[in-house]
C-alpha cells in the first residue's frame, strides 16, 4: 500500500501548482533550503560513505578518523567483487528470482484482478473478502510453515504423492518464487485499476464477438499498462531486495542470491570493508536506476491514463 502511494502521488503533486514562494521572504527561503539541504545530505550520507569506502585502498579503510573523500580510486575492489567465485552465480540467481517473481505477479495478479473487477461469478464477494483478509496476514511470521509446504510439494524433488521422502522445491527457483509469485496486494491493485476502466470498451469488444480472454489480452491489458508498470516495478524491487525467502528456502551455495552473497561476504572471515561496500554499491544501483527510470514512466502513465481516449 505504502509504496503505491509513492508511485501515484508524485503525479498529483505536480499537477497542483500553488506557488507560495513569491510570498515567502528571502531569508526564510534560505533557511528553508539550508535545512532541506542538510536533511538531504544526512539522508544521502550512508550512500556516499558506501561509495567512498568502496573506492578506498585497503590501508585507507583502517585510517581513523576515516576520510570522506578517498585518496585514490581503487576500482580493483569492484573487480574483486566481480571475480568472487560465486558472484556470477548469485547474479543469475537474483535475476531469475526477481524476474520470475515479477512476471508471475504480473500474469497472475492481473488475471485475478480482472476477474474480480469485471466478471460475474458465484462466490465473488467471498473471494474478494479473502484477498483483502490475506492482505493483513504477516508474511514474515509464516516462515516455518512456508518452509514445510515448499518442502512437501508432492512429486517434486523426490517427493512421493504425499510430499514425503524428498526435498520438494527447496533449493529450487520454483520454491523461492512460490511465496512471492502472487500477492494479495498485487491482486488488489490490479482490481482497483480494472474497475476504473470504462466498461464500454469491454462491451464493445463483446459485441464484436470477442471472448473473455481476448478482451482481457487485447483490450484491458494494454489499457492497464500504467498499473502493470507500478506492479512490475514494485514486484521487481521487493524480490531483488528479498532476503528471508532465499535464506530459508535454499541452503546450497549454488542457489544463493546477491543479497545472501553480500551477507555472507560481510560476515565472512576475511571481509574487507572496501570490497563489501563495492558489492553493496553494485547491488543497490540497479534498483535505484530502475526507480529513477520508472518514476518518470509511472508518472507519465498516470497522467496519460487520466486523459480521455
Amino acid at each position: 500500500m505504502s509504496v503505491v502511494a509513492s508511485q501515484s502521488t508524485p503525479a498529483r503533486t505536480d499537477e497542483r501548482s500553488f506557488s507560495l514562494s513569491r510570498f515567502i521572504p528571502l531569508g526564510e527561503r534560505i533557511v528553508g533550503y539550508g535545512l532541506l539541504l542538510f536533511a538531504a545530505f544526512a539522508t544521502m550520507a550512508p550512500f556516499l560513505w558506501m561509495v567512498s569506502t568502496s573506492l578506498k585502498a585497503d590501508a585507507e579503510v583502517f585510517q581513523f578518523p576515516p576520510s570522506f573523500v578517498p585518496q585514490g580510486l581503487e576500482w580493483q575492489n569492484y573487480l574483486d567483487v566481480i571475480y568472487l567465485p560465486d558472484s556470477g552465480r548469485q547474479l543469475v540467481n537474483s535475476l531469475v528470482f526477481a524476474l520470475g517473481s515479477t512476471i508471475s505477479n504480473l500474469v497472475f495478479c492481473s488475471l485475478a484482478g480482472y476477474a474480480l473487477a469485471r466478471m460475474q461469478f458465484r462466490g465473488k464477494t467471498i473471494v474478494f473478502a479473502l484477498v483483502v483478509g490475506l492482505l493483513m496476514v504477516p508474511a514474515q511470521s509464516q516462515i516455518v510453515p512456508v518452509f514445510l509446504i515448499v518442502q512437501k510439494i508432492p512429486f517434486a524433488g523426490g517427493n512421493d504423492w504425499l510430499g514425503n521422502s524428498g526435498t520438494g522445491l527447496l533449493n529450487t527457483y520454483w520454491g523461492m518464487i512460490l511465496p512471492t509469485a502472487a500477492t494479495p496486494f498485487g491482486i488488489f491493485l490490479m482490481r482497483q485499476f480494472f474497475t476504473r476502466i470504462p466498461i464500454e470498451y469491454e462491451e464493445s469488444a463483446r459485441l464484436d464477438g470477442a471472448k473473455s480472454f481476448t478482451i482481457f489480452w487485447r483490450i484491458l491489458l494494454p489499457l492497464a499498462r500504467p498499473a502493470m508498470a507500478v506492479l512490475g516495478v514494485l514486484s521487481f524491487q521487493s524480490a531483488w531486495n528479498e532476503f528471508i525467502w532465499p535464506l530459508i528456502l535454499t541452503n546450497s551455495r549454488d542457489m544463493a542470491t546477491l543479497q545472501i552473497g553480500l551477507q555472507l561476504l560481510q560476515s565472512g572471515p576475511d571481509a574487507r570493508w572496501n570490497v563489501v561496500m563495492a558489492m553493496a554499491t553494485l547491488i543497490t544501483m540497479p534498483i535505484i536506476i530502475v526507480f529513477l527510470f520508472a518514476q518518470r514512466f509511472v508518472i507519465d502513465g498516470a497522467v496519460t491514463s487520466g486523459v480521455k481516449g
Binding site: 459485441l207 481476448t214 489499457l223
Partner: protein, 364 residues
Amino acid sequence: MAELELSGVSKTYGAFNALKDVSLEIGDGEFAVFVGPSGCGKSTLLRLIAGLDPVSEGQIAIGGKDVTSSQAGQRPIAMVFQNYALYPHMSVYDNIAFPLQMERRSKDEIRAEVARAAQIVQLSTRLQDKPSKLSGGQRQRVAIARAIVRKPGIFLMDEPLSNLDAALRMEMRSELTQLHRRLGSTMVYVTHDQLEAMTMADRIVVLNGGRVEQVGPPMELYHNPANLFVAGFIGSPPMNFLAGTVRSVDGATVSVDALRIGVVTLPFSGEHLYAGDSVTLGVRPEALELGAGRQVQFSVVPEAVERLGLHTIVHAGEEGRPFTALFNGDPKLRAGEAINVSVDRSSVQVFDADGISRSRRTEV
C-alpha cells in the same frame, strides 16, 4: 432481413422496473429512434437488444430468429457507444479491423473491408493515427466505421452525437441519415433530443418511465400525440396546456370552458367525454397567429419577447403556468403590452383527466 421484434420485454434491476412490458416491431431498413427523458430506459432497451444484459422477461427476435438467449457477439448487430469506446491503444485501422479479426477473416479481406469503411466515413487518410489525435467528429466516424465493417442487420446507436458541439451535431445528423440511406440497414437510435428524433427518424418510439408511450412517424406524433406526455415532449417550444372543463358534448362538437380562452367549441366527436369532465387543452405555440384571423381568439400579455429573426417567441406565462407563442418574422411587440392572438379550432387538442388524447384522429 433484419427486422426487430420485441414482445413483452421487461427488465428489472433488483426491485426496480427499468422496462415494463415493451412490445415493438421495427421493420427491415427502418430508422427507428428511441426518445424520452433521462432515466426512462432508452439505454437499457438498447442494451437488451444488443445482448449486453439479459432480459428479465419477454422475447427478442432479429430477422425472425429468437435471439433472446444468444450472447452479445452472436447477434447480427453493431453498436456505437455514446463515448465511442474506441480502444485508445489501437490505431484507427486496428480499431476498425478489430471486429473482423474477431471473425478470423483473412488479412487481405480485412484490409479491403477497413479501406471501404474508412472511405465511407471519409477517414482514409487517418488510419494510422491513434484515436486521441482525432477530433470529436472524427472519433465518432471511427466508431461508425467499426460498426459498418460488421455488416450488421441492425445498427444500434446510443446518443452518438451528444458529445459533439451544436454545429457538428447538425452536420453528423445529415451524414447519419445519408449513411442510413446508403447502407439500407435497420437502425435503432437513442437520443433524448427530440429535434434529432424528428429530423432523422422514420418512426419514433417515445419512452417514459420504462413504458412505450407512443410509436409512429414524426409528423404523426407531432400532429396527433396520443397523450399529454408525447404532446409535451415532441415539438419545441413545447405545446401549451390550458386546464378546462367540458360544458357539453353533442356528437360532432365539444364545448369546453378553458383558462385564458374562455368557452370554445371544438370539432371533435367527443367520445368518452361528458359534461363536467376536467380536460386539458393543448395549443402548439406555432399554431397561434397574431391578430384575429382565426376562429378562437384571446389576448395575452407578453412578459418576454425573444427575436430570432426568422421567428419571434413570446413568453406569456400566468400564475406559474408557462405559455408561449411563436410568430413568423419580426412583428413589433413589446413586453407588457397586451396582444390579440388566434388559433384554428381544429388545431386545439383535448386531453382527458388521464392525459389521453380525445381529439386524436385515428387513421382509417
